[in-house]
């Protein structure tokens, strides 16, 4: 279970607080206006930014002081999710072992996940030889391969068209959120949340609110969410 305890992030005028827990297996959309701190919240959970105060913990183990790679977390960024100078297979191999070793066993596993995300046989290509959607699939494949309990999606599909974005979100839920993994995704589009999210965190006025069940929240949105959704 992901738990944020008395979390406070201050950077100049910017301020964000959070104090809640997210149940295992949840698919949680983080919503709210631009500049509200959605990506900042993910950066703190992932370990790229130290909070001003408070703790981040996972199943009772404190993560706050751990470097990003030591946390039970994999993250997909808005862009640059693949090293452009390495083949897809190499990129995925780094998810298995940061030293980049590639033996018969890991080749086999990489081929399997590539098959699962619909990229069978494309391991030898470099990212530039893939379409945008295929690059997203490769990044998802690496997250799958890393097999961490919490997956953070910081709008990795924002540059794709709406149809392709939905397809990727479905794929992300299908391949990642099974096996008890928790998904936390930044989202701008309520239809994304409606489609795959079980929970919603609303980031608004310097507070990341407690996750609430997505269905009821979207059916009867509170004022802050209504104004954000423009209803």
């Amino acid at each position: 279970m992901l738990r944020l305890e008395g979390l406070e992030i201050r950077q100049g005028d910017f301020e964000l607080r959070a104090d809640w827990a997210l149940p295992d297996g949840a698919v949680c959309a983080v919503m709210g206006p631009s500049g509200g701190g959605k990506s900042t919240l993910l950066a703190v959970i992932a370990g790229f930014l130290a909070p001003t105060s408070g703790r981040v913990s996972w199943n009772g183990h404190e993560l706050t002081a751990l470097p990003p790679a030591r946390r039970p977390i994999s993250i997909l960024f808005q862009d640059n999710n693949l090293f452009p100078h390495l083949t897809v297979e190499r990129n995925l191999a780094l998810g298995l072992d940061p030293r980049g070793r590639l033996d018969a066993g890991s080749r086999q596993r990489i081929a399997e996940v590539l098959d699962r995300v619909g990229l069978a046989g494309m391991g030898a290509r470099k990212p530039a030889a893939l379409s945008g959607g295929q690059q997203s699939r490769a990044a998802l494949a690496r997250a799958l391969l890393m097999d961490r309990a919490l997956v953070l999606l910081d709008e990795p599909f924002a540059a794709l068209g709406p149809g392709l974005r939905m397809e990727m979100l479905d794929l992300a839920r299908e391949v990642l959120s099974g096996e008890g993994r928790t998904l936390l995704m930044v989202s701008h589009a309520p239809e994304d949340a409606a489609r795959i999210a079980s929970h919603i965190v609303l980031v608004h006025d310097g507070v990341a609110a407690t996750p609430e069940a997505a269905g009821p929240l979207l059916a009867d949105p509170p004022r802050a969410l209504r104004s954000y959704l423009g209803r």
Binding site: A46, P67, N80, P84, H85, R90
Partner: protein, 489 residues
């Protein structure tokens, strides 16, 4: 790095005994060093302004080639260029042939005006690049706005830009001219055209007066430090910057003829000596001197060693970051190879014969001198790689060697290749500290050339110059190319 720059200085200071006593010859060397550098820098900048303006606002066939040519002096060995200049301006050069036709007496390229001429030849292109960059940094919209208002572009846009850029260009060139040893050695000399570095060389080689050499080295360091501070104060721009292929669209009429003349004269001034290197060198190839291939091998070995060392140091310092690393990357700009050489000479002389250490010391000093250039290429590229891909690498746990192998080295391939090419060519053509240390058996190609020139075997020297030029260009090309082939997209 700090050891080589500051450490050698300490050795020099210790040898000088902190007693700065300067004779009249020393004072005149200091005076000459300063004023020739000031004059060379002023001429370079002044002549560069019309050329840069023409390049900034005109599109013409060969413009790209000319801009590329302006980068050539970075990798053109000084001593090779001197051969070309002698071919044009020397006795029996094409200028004197032309003057003789109209009945005018011969001019000599030796003496203070030869030193200044060579410095302008080397630094005019640099000044043009710096000032052209200034011109192209004026946003196109401002020119449009000025045109729509009918405002005077010169006073409104160009003069303020020049006032911002020219002092930096002057300061950089002044510093370069303070420390140019090879030009003074070949074209200067005598009581009226001896620089401090030349005086150091003479004190070590001919008088074996290490005390006097040390005192002069202290003086030279002081001069360079003052000039480096001047560069800093003037906010010197970056000469390695790319993107000079743009042309600013301009709306005021006229000036076409003036621009054409400026470009034509500059091209002639730069290309005539280059052509003479080939013209004089080609016959010399048939009569290459004994010892050429040994010298060539030594030059290549020194250049490769210096390149490896510079890249390793630059990469390590760039990765380390911080104020101390930045200082170490800048310090060699103020250092002079002769000062470092004197320091090492003082330190090594009691332990080993200078000639035995000649090649190692030359490689070390060359590596140090090239470090600021390599660093200036690598540091921004490293920052860019980290900005774009650092978070991904961190999230995957790429640290230490793994990060270097999978992220940094592949992303830095092109700048590494370019920096290696630059260092290799600089080291290959360097004539400085090797002249202090080498005996008969340790000559590199530049030193071999100097010896041939001193023996008035100009044709052979020109042949060696052509070989040296070809090797320098080849080294640059191979490294630079190696960085580009199959480079990361």
């Amino acid at each position: 790095m700090l050891g080589l720059t500051l450490g050698t200085l300490a050795a020099v200071a210790w040898r000088a005994g902190f007693a700065l006593s300067l004779g009249p010859a020393d004072l005149s060397a200091i005076w000459f060093t300063t004023w020739q550098a000031a004059l060379s820098a002023a001429l370079s900048v002044a002549l560069a302004v019309p050329v840069a303006r023409a390049l900034a606002r005109r599109r013409f066939p060969g413009r790209g080639a000319l801009v590329t040519l302006l980068g050539a002096p970075f990798i053109l060995p000084v001593i090779v260029a001197v051969i070309g200049l002698i071919g044009v301006f020397g006795r029996g050069g094409i200028l004197n042939d032309a003057l003789a036709l109209v009945g005018l007496g011969p001019v000599s390229v030796y003496g203070w005006h030869g030193v200044v001429l060579a410095h302008v030849f080397f630094n005019l292109p640099l000044a043009v690049r710096l000032i052209l960059q200034g011109w192209l940094s004026i946003p196109a919209e401002r020119f449009r706005l000025a045109a729509s208002l009918g405002a005077p572009v010169g006073r409104l846009l160009e003069w303020p830009m020049l006032r911002a850029v020219a002092p930096g260009a002057f300061a950089v060139i002044f510093l370069i001219c303070l420390t140019s040893f090879a030009v003074a050695l070949t074209l200067g000399g005598g009581p009226r055209a001896t620089t401090v570095e030349l005086a150091i060389y003479q004190a070590v080689r001919f008088e074996f007066d290490l005390g006097r050499a040390a005192v002069l080295a202290m003086v030279q360091f002081g001069l360079c430090l003052a000039a480096a501070l001047m560069v800093r104060a003037a906010g010197a721009p970056d000469a390695l910057g790319a993107g000079l292929d743009r042309v600013v669209e301009r709306f005021e009429p006229g000036g076409r003829m003036r621009d054409a003349v400026a470009v034509a004269l500059a091209a002639l001034f730069l290309m005539a000596p280059l052509a003479m290197i080939v013209a004089r060198g080609a016959p010399g190839l048939l009569d290459l001197p004994e010892g050429l291939w040994g010298a060539a091998l030594r030059s290549i070995a020194v250049a490769l060693g210096a390149t490896a060392l510079t890249l390793a140091m630059a990469l390590a310092l760039a990765l380390r970051g911080g104020a101390l690393a930045r200082l170490a990357m800048l310090l060699p700009l103020a250092a002079s190879s002769l000062v470092m050489g004197t320091g090492l000479f003082v330190l090594l002389y009691p332990v080993v014969a200078p000639r035995d250490a000649a090649l190692v010391v030359t490689g070390l000093v060359n590596a140090t001198m090239a470090l600021p250039f390599a660093a200036r290429v690598l540091v921004p590229a490293l920052a860019q790689a980290e900005t774009a891909h650092g978070r991904l690498a961190t999230s995957l746990g790429l640290v230490g060697w793994a990060r270097l192998r999978w992220l940094i080295l592949p992303r830095l391939r092109r700048p590494l290749g370019f920096a290696a090419g630059l260092t290799g060519a600089l080291s290959m053509g360097d004539l400085g500290v090797i002249a202090l240390f080498a005996g008969d058996g340790e000559a590199t190609l530049p030193l071999l050339m100097v010896r041939l020139m001193a023996a008035y075997r100009m044709e052979q020297a020109a042949g060696v110059a052509l070989v040296l030029l070809a090797l320098s260009l080849a080294l640059f090309w191979i490294f630079d190319r190696g960085g580009r082939v199959d480079a990361a997209s």
